[in-house]
């Protein structure tokens, strides 16, 4: 009897952990939109168009094709010269202090908007695995 109870507890714990980690994609995208509006939109603008010469576009952006590089930039910040869609930028993007789940959410939002397309679902674990 005790064994069964423990088994049940373990199963429920496992299930809730599983549910916690596998946030539905639609929810992640919705949460990501909120993060985008609060933390990103001021520089990258409403439709990810950026500001010519100052802030690179996120819309139709070839930079975002390298997902790990993008996660790295969101986690640790980005500075120095980069090229986006053939145009040169040289500025500073400070780390915004987002946690790994928030970075996964905003990535899922950005990678499915403004002409960007991906099959990949960014998970919190994936963000955690990108190290400095």
């Amino acid at each position: 009897m005790k064994g069964i109870s423990l088994f049940l507890i373990a199963s429920f714990t496992g299930l809730s952990l599983f549910l916690h980690q596998q946030k539905p994609l639609a929810q992640s995208i919705a949460d990501g939109e909120e993060i985008y509006i609060d933390f990103c939109m001021q520089c990258h603008m409403t439709n990810g168009e950026g500001v010519p010469g100052a802030f690179p576009p996120l819309a139709n952006s070839d930079y975002l094709l390298d997902i790990e590089k993008t996660i790295y930039a969101l986690k640790f910040g980005l500075k120095g010269p980069i090229t986006v869609n053939g145009k040169a930028y040289n500025s500073v993007m400070a780390s915004q202090g987002l946690d790994d789940e928030e970075i996964a959410d905003v990535m899922n939002y950005i990678l499915r908007n403004w002409g960007n397309e991906t099959e990949e679902v960014i998970t919190e674990e994936k963000v955690t695995s990108v190290l400095k």
Binding site: D38, F39, M41, Q42, M45, T46, V51, A54, G77, K79, N90, S91, V92, A94, S95, Q96, G97
Partner: protein, 374 residues
């Protein structure tokens, strides 16, 4: 039909953009000949947020990510012993300033995004401390805004002193414009006034108002990131970021309401309106507003003889257009605007040093000194 819809949509978008792009006030001009150059006096600082010049060669610089530098003759040392800094969105280590009586009291003041408190997230805090062998000692928390929030926007914050022993500082609306700026029982969207030891002045405007935050000096602000004591009148001048359009310059008067978000000359980033009101009884009109937004940060008057043509002018950094803006004033009206150091980078801060030179904090560069050509 769909084409027709697109047509009307395009027209309305054009209308909004047309409105937004109109330059308000005297158009910004670019000088034909440059009678100044610049040199970098402290390099390799990502976001030099605040600058406090103890002397022409000895100064303190805050870096947003949470580093306080003590820079002597261009050599940077990291100051130890900072209280916790909550790096989140626009928040981090913010302004730094030294007491007007620094030679006697040795006090420096700084603002930071702070995680202190029970709720998750953070709010802006003001500290004083002293510097001993590149460590902070006698660190004292003078004010901490609440309630904490995980929002990344609008922390302010700048620090200024008057000649009557007060310290002023700003906190932005913390991303909650519908609640904070118009409510004097809550922090955020305010200019604050304290005695330099952190106590509340007995003549603060809301001292007798039950439930109010007694440190509040004025309210209805969005995100003030420029503050300077006028060199002649001693009044506190503040500028603040508008939304899209509607950055403002205001002279701060005790107890007054500066209107955000009930009145504004700006619109939402998305192009939708915030309000149709730009004026209202009981709310102050700005001395000047920018349309389009320049994203102002840092504020200084030039009072020295180093730049004779600029004497008495106001200087404001532009994050968005990456220049230093020079404003000529007549009877508190802006009559001329000019770009100084066009395309230098995002100008985060501007100070007049004790040597009379102008010093800028430029993102990705560091501290830049403007040198007149002789």
């Amino acid at each position: 039909m769909k084409t027709l819809q697109h047509f009307f949509l395009s027209i309305s978008i054009l209308g909004v953009i047309g409105c937004d792009a109109q330059d308000h006030g005297p158009a910004i001009s670019t000088p034909k000949t440059l009678d100044y150059s610049y040199e970098i006096v402290a390099d390799s600082i990502d976001i030099p947020w605040g600058l406090s010049m103890l002397s022409a060669t000895d100064f303190l610089v805050t870096e947003k990510a949470g580093t306080l530098y003590h820079i002597v003759d261009g050599v940077k040392t990291i100051v130890k012993g900072l209280p916790p800094v909550y790096v989140r969105g626009q928040g981090g280590l913010l302004d730094v300033a030294h007491s007007p009586d620094y030679n006697e009291d040795g006090l420096i003041y700084f603002t930071t995004s702070s995680p202190l408190g029970e709720e998750k997230g953070g709010h802006t805090a003001l500290y004083s401390a002293q510097l001993k062998k590149d460590s902070l000692i006698n660190t004292s928390l003078l004010y901490k805004g609440d309630f904490n929030t995980k929002k990344g926007q609008h922390w302010g914050s700048r620090i200024a002193f008057d000649e009557e022993g007060h310290v002023f500082f700003s906190i932005g609306d913390r991303g909650n414009r519908e609640v904070n700026p118009q409510d004097i029982t809550r922090d955020g969207g305010k200019i604050y006034r304290l005695n330099r030891d952190g106590s509340i002045p007995s003549d603060n405007p809301f001292i007798d108002n039950e439930n109010s935050r007694k440190a509040i000096y004025s309210y209805g602000h969005r995100n003030p990131q420029g503050m300077i004591t006028h060199p002649e009148t001693g009044k506190i001048w503040v500028h603040e970021h508008g939304p899209r359009g509607g950055d403002e310059i205001n002279i701060i008067k005790p107890g007054k309401n500066y209107g955000w978000p009930i009145i504004t000359y700006g619109i939402n980033y998305s192009g939708t309106p915030i309000t149709d009101q730009t004026k209202k009884e009981g709310m102050e009109q700005p001395l000047y507003y920018w349309l389009p937004s320049i994203a102002p940060s840092g504020m200084a008057f030039s009072t020295s003889d180093i730049y004779p043509k600029w004497k008495g002018n106001l200087f404001v950094g532009s994050l968005r257009f990456e220049y230093l803006e020079r404003l000529e004033l007549k009877n508190n009206t802006v009559v001329r605007r000019e770009k100084v150091l066009d395309s230098i980078g995002r100008v985060r801060n501007i100070e007049q040093g004790p040597d009379g030179y102008l010093y800028l904090g430029v993102e990705g560069k560091g501290i830049v000194k403007i040198i007149p050509k002789s």
